[in-house]
């Protein structure tokens, strides 16, 4: 194979794939890659994908073959594919399905066609206490049902992905349906891609466990609700926090036939166990003392759950991973905007929650109008000469703080609020004193970690109802806060170089808007300061996702 200039794909020998967005075959190639590669970043012109063990096992789990994957690469490749790439694909994909977990009466059997695989696994140091007595079959090992998750987790980490064909225990049935209209009478229906995601979760080999990846604002909650309704069983939903829990509950009540008493919140205030129960990661991992086990893990076993939904699965705390190892007989759905975990536990998500079932790039949804078109603007604000003098003589840590507290940001905030006088605006900040100062100056209500839950709820509701035009949020507003009316976010300070925070904050304004479907994300940054350097790092994730930043210098 030689140079084919019209093809869009370049395969590198480290299994990175580069995709030219300007090519007429870009969309065709992108859709083909989704099956077996992970999107790493998608700035303009060149998107970067990566073929990993997990992405190949995910592909194999979805029924793709190594030959088909290699053919796809060859079909779109611009340059000859390095020899090691097809070899790796064949080797990795051949591993998935070589070891299978099946039911064997009250036990489970780990079986393989090649007895050498069984022997190898039996003799691994890490697996010696995972298996029951020898069944006397060179092709199989006996597994205790309670070790199902652990076996998968350990073997996946050791490069032996297990195809789990042992099936699931059905939970108690729960009759429910999607509501055709919202409470205000407006009709609603699942979007096509949400239905595709639900189909992908429920269909195919090993269906019933896995992860759906959708951008912020794309309606992951709807996918969860759709999956739950289609299954029709008792469901446990794990959320990132109290606000997210309330939103889930509201959405379920508004969009399904379930009634208030059928949807319970298991929180610090009320331990309500209902056919659909919502709880938070924080509550589940709470321990009465440092060395005590988490007090509320019993929730997993207190009812016959047919489905467990993990919201924002990339944030799933390690103890819940461990407990999920015991939930392998339950159907599990993970929802997330990114499979990338800062702690590198992607393999655990694959083994314990399930393979990726559905993925859609952010920009693809933006083009289809399902999320707002966002314009990201960094406004560089100079320090006053006095503050600059203070900054240059301060310690490194203090310099960042002085830059973040730049008093001149107030004037810029004022201008931006005037520029977007007809839109709902979120003012986002990290430093509470600075955020409080700005809020007092402009008469903006603030929600922070100290704001009582009732007050938070009331402020969010007033904002949703349009009574409040501007709302200031501290870090509590970073996750799972659904404020669909907000079309402008103004970030007055951020947590050092946190890329995830930047992306989550942008997500607050990405819900589709009426009219132009346009969202604005402003980041106020002190010019020529450490804050400017950290801002560059923070913006990297969004730039990689194809959201370029325009830089404006405030006069």
């Amino acid at each position: 194979m030689t140079y084919v200039p019209d093809n869009p794909l370049i395969a590198q020998s480290d299994h990175t794939l580069l995709l030219e967005t300007q090519s007429p075959r870009f969309e065709e190639a992108r859709d083909a890659l989704l099956a077996f590669a992970e999107l790493v970043k998608s700035p303009e012109y060149i998107h970067t994908w990566r073929i990993t063990s997990l992405s190949l096992w995910n592909a194999a789990a979805a029924g793709h073959t190594a030959d088909a994957v290699i053919d796809t690469l060859a079909r779109f490749a611009k340059y000859p594919i390095p020899d090691n790439v097809p070899a790796t694909i064949r080797d990795k994909m051949a591993r998935y399905g070589r070891v299978r977990l099946v039911r064997d009466g009250a036990w489970l059997r780990l079986e393989a066609d090649d007895p050498v695989d069984v022997e190898e696994i039996r003799h691994l140091k890490e697996t010696h206490d995972l298996f029951g007595e020898d069944p006397g079959d060179p092709h199989a090992l006996r597994v205790l049902p309670r070790k199902r998750g652990e076996v998968k987790q350990v073997l996946t980490a050791l490069g032996h992905p297990v195809q789990d064909l042992a099936g699931y225990d059905d939970g108690d049935p729960l009759t429910m349906a999607l509501a055709p209209t919202l409470p205000d009478g407006r009709p609603w229906a699942l979007r096509d891609y949400q239905i595709e995601a639900i189909d992908a979760f429920h269909g195919g080999p090993g269906a019933g466990s896995g992860v759906v990846v959708l951008p912020c604002g794309a309606g992951k909650t709807m996918v969860g609700i759709g999956a739950m309704v289609r299954l029709g069983m008792r469901t446990l939903i794990l959320c990132t926090g109290h606000t997210a829990l309330q939103q889930w509950r509201r959405e379920i009540l508004e969009r399904t036939s379930l009634t208030e008493d059928q949807v319970g919140a298991y929180t610090a205030e009320s331990k309500q166990l209902a056919p659909v129960t919502l709880t938070t990661y924080q509550l589940l991992t709470w321990r009465p003392s440092r060395n005590a086990p988490p007090a509320h893990f019993r929730l997993f076993h207190e009812a016959s759950w047919g489905l467990v939904i993990y919201d924002e699965v990339h944030l799933l705390p390690a103890p819940i991973f461990r407990e999920s190892a015991y939930l392998q007989a339950r159907r599990r759905l993970g929802l997330t905007a990114t499979l990338v975990r800062e702690d590198g536990h992607e393999g655990d998500v694959f083994a314990l929650i399930g393979p990726k079932r559905f993925d859609l790039p952010w920009k693809a949804l933006e083009h289809q109008g399902w999320i707002a078109t966002a314009r990201c603007i960094e406004v560089r604000v100079a320090l006053s000469p006095e503050d600059r003098l203070r900054m240059v003589t301060a310690s490194a840590k203090e310099r960042y703080r002085i830059a973040a507290h730049n008093a001149r940001k107030g004037a810029i905030l004022d201008k931006l609020l005037a520029r977007h006088a007809d839109e709902q605006v979120l003012v986002l900040g990290t430093y509470l004193d600075h955020l409080g100062f700005l809020a007092r100056r402009f008469g903006i209500p603030v929600i922070s970690g100290d704001t009582p839950l009732d007050e938070r709820r009331a402020l969010y509701q007033r904002f949703r109802d349009g009574e409040l035009r501007v709302l200031a949020l501290s870090k509590v507003g970073n996750f799972s806060v659904d404020l669909p009316g907000a079309s402008v976010a103004i970030q007055v300070s951020g947590s050092w170089g946190s890329r995830q925070e930047e992306a989550q904050r942008l997500g607050r304004v990405l819900r589709p808007k009426a009219g132009q479907n346009q969202a604005w994300f402003y980041s106020l940054v002190t010019a020529d300061s450490p804050e400017q350097e950290y801002a560059e790092r923070r913006q990297l994730f969004l730039t990689e996702q194809g959201y370029p930043y325009r830089i404006e210098r405030a006069s």
Partner: protein
């Protein structure tokens, strides 16, 4: 009479309020010798020694540069001057240019020291050539330096079509190409500019610095092993740099320095850079043969060249280009040192002198990966074909993305562009395509010699659309870096 100029260091701030910021950190006033205006001050030599270490990270050190307009004026003037020369003088100048390497020519090789002496004197008088003072050099036979801005000599119209034949089966296989070497030399040279590279007393690069180079070059093997001299790729590149005499070793610090001269070799298109490299890789007194071989390969295209016919055609057409004959006692003879007998400039002489020269050059070109040879036949390798016939295929585009990555496909940049790119960005991956990341620290290093506009122009040379974010980011980094600048070597009348 020339006006005398003083060379000084000038401290410059983007905004006069920054003087107060500097004063808050160091006692600046004591080192200011002159206030030029509200943003520029001349500082004394002690400033660098005493204050600069405390201001590190706040002050960017730059070097004053020659005004580019000054050079273009000189070039235009020289074009006119050469055009107005008498034909005989122009012939001698062209011969000198064809024989020159690095603008230095040995008179004995290029002209007849007796009969061409008036022309040499005239060229010398016009400042187009300057004699290099040497002991024991006979008149007009020694070294002369050509004016660096001279227009190139007219091309020699070689016609080797009669020598073109089909490739034969017994041609040797192609060795490692010289194009890859050029790019690797560019990459390694750029890496040497970023970090100090120390050399042990045994003459090898220290393990720590070889590892650092490995990281800079995105070569995991080198970064892990730390043995540059046994690394097939980078040791070849280092040997190439040594062969070009563009790296030197500081004998006290034992640090490798990149000297001037590499950029001149790499300049222009890939074919031009290859040609310059080839001229430098063959022996000094043989390089004048190279254009003839290059012309033969260009005319052969995908075919081969019959060596015997090639030699005959060369002898009949432009023998004097290789070795201009001297005239002694009414006979044409080969150049000779004083006291040596004169060999007649005839066909037998061609067999003994030029034919051997050409064979030596062909052997060298085979070793450098430009030629494949069989008895009586030679043909170009893929690199040789590229060198011989300037490619008309458009280069694939380079991609610059908003997240400050530069993606360079094969053959997308010239060696000169590679060198500049590796100075401006950090290589992340050398693979089917190479990936670079633009980083603030590298831009700051770049700004010591260049402007941010040159960085943007470099990216725009091959990238169809540099995203505005990249432009804004680089400009904003430059603005930050140039808030306080110390410029060395500023000439003041």
């Amino acid at each position: 009479m020339t006006a005398s100029a003083e060379v000084v260091s000038v401290l410059q701030v983007a905004d006069p309020v920054l003087w107060a910021e500097l004063e808050a950190i160091v006692p600046l006033d004591a080192h200011v010798t002159e206030v030029i205006d509200d943003r520029r001050r001349v500082v004394d030599a002690a400033f660098e020694r005493e204050l600069l270490p405390e201001l590190r990270g706040r002050v960017l050190v730059r070097y004053a540069r020659r005004d580019p307009g000054e050079r273009s004026e000189t070039v235009a003037h020289l074009v006119e001057e050469v055009a107005s020369l008498r034909a005989e003088h122009r012939r001698v100048l062209a011969a000198a240019q064809r024989h020159a390497l690095d603008d230095v020519v040995i008179g004995r090789h290029a002209w007849d020291p007796v009969h061409d002496a008036p022309a040499v004197r005239a060229l010398h008088g016009l400042g187009l050539i300057t004699a290099v003072p040497e002991q024991d050099a006979a008149p007009y036979e020694g070294r002369y330096r050509l004016h660096p801005d001279l227009p190139p000599p007219p091309p020699v119209p070689y016609d080797f079509t009669e020598a073109v034949m089909d490739e034969t089966d017994d041609l040797s296989t192609a060795g490692p190409g010289v194009l890859g070497l050029l790019h690797d030399m560019a990459s390694l040279a750029a890496a040497l500019t970023h970090d100090d590279t120390r050399v042990t007393h045994a003459g090898t690069v220290t393990v720590a610095d070889a590892r650092k180079l490995g990281r800079r070059l995105a070569d995991d093997g080198l970064a892990t092993a730390g043995a540059l001299e046994t690394h097939p790729r980078w040791s070849r590149a280092l040997r190439g740099l040594h062969a070009l005499h563009v790296v030197t070793l500081d004998p006290l610090a034992r640090v490798l320095h990149l000297d001037l001269g590499l950029e001149a070799t790499l300049a222009g298109t890939t074919e031009e850079a290859t040609d310059r490299l080839v001229h430098k890789l063959v022996d000094r007194d043989l390089h004048v043969v190279v254009p003839a071989i290059r012309a033969a390969l260009a005319q052969a295209g995908p075919g081969a060249v019959d060596e015997l016919v090639f030699l005959e055609l060369l002898r009949d057409q432009h023998r004097d280009v290789l070795i201009p004959p001297w005239e002694r006692d009414g006979e044409r003879v080969y150049p000779a040192l004083e006291g040596e007998p004169h060999r007649p400039y005839d066909d037998d002489g061609f067999e003994v002198v030029e034919t051997r020269m050409i064979h030596a050059v062909l052997a060298r070109l085979q070793r450098t990966g430009l030629l494949r040879r069989a008895p009586g036949v030679f043909a170009a390798t893929p690199d040789g074909r590229r060198w011989a016939a300037a490619s008309t295929t458009p280069l694939p585009p380079v991609w610059v993305t908003g997240d400050l990555e530069v993606i360079v496909p094969p053959d997308a940049v010239t060696p000169w562009e590679r060198f500049q790119l590796e100075r401006l960005g950090r290589c992340q991956q050398r693979d089917v395509v190479d990936r670079y990341r633009l980083e603030r620290a590298d831009l700051e290093a770049w700004l010591a010699w260049h402007d941010v506009d040159e960085a943007l122009a470099l990216l725009e040379r091959r990238c169809p659309a540099v995203p505005p974010t990249v432009r804004e980011t680089l400009t904003s980094w430059a603005t930050s870096a140039l808030r306080i600048v110390l410029t060395r070597g500023v000439r003041r009348a």
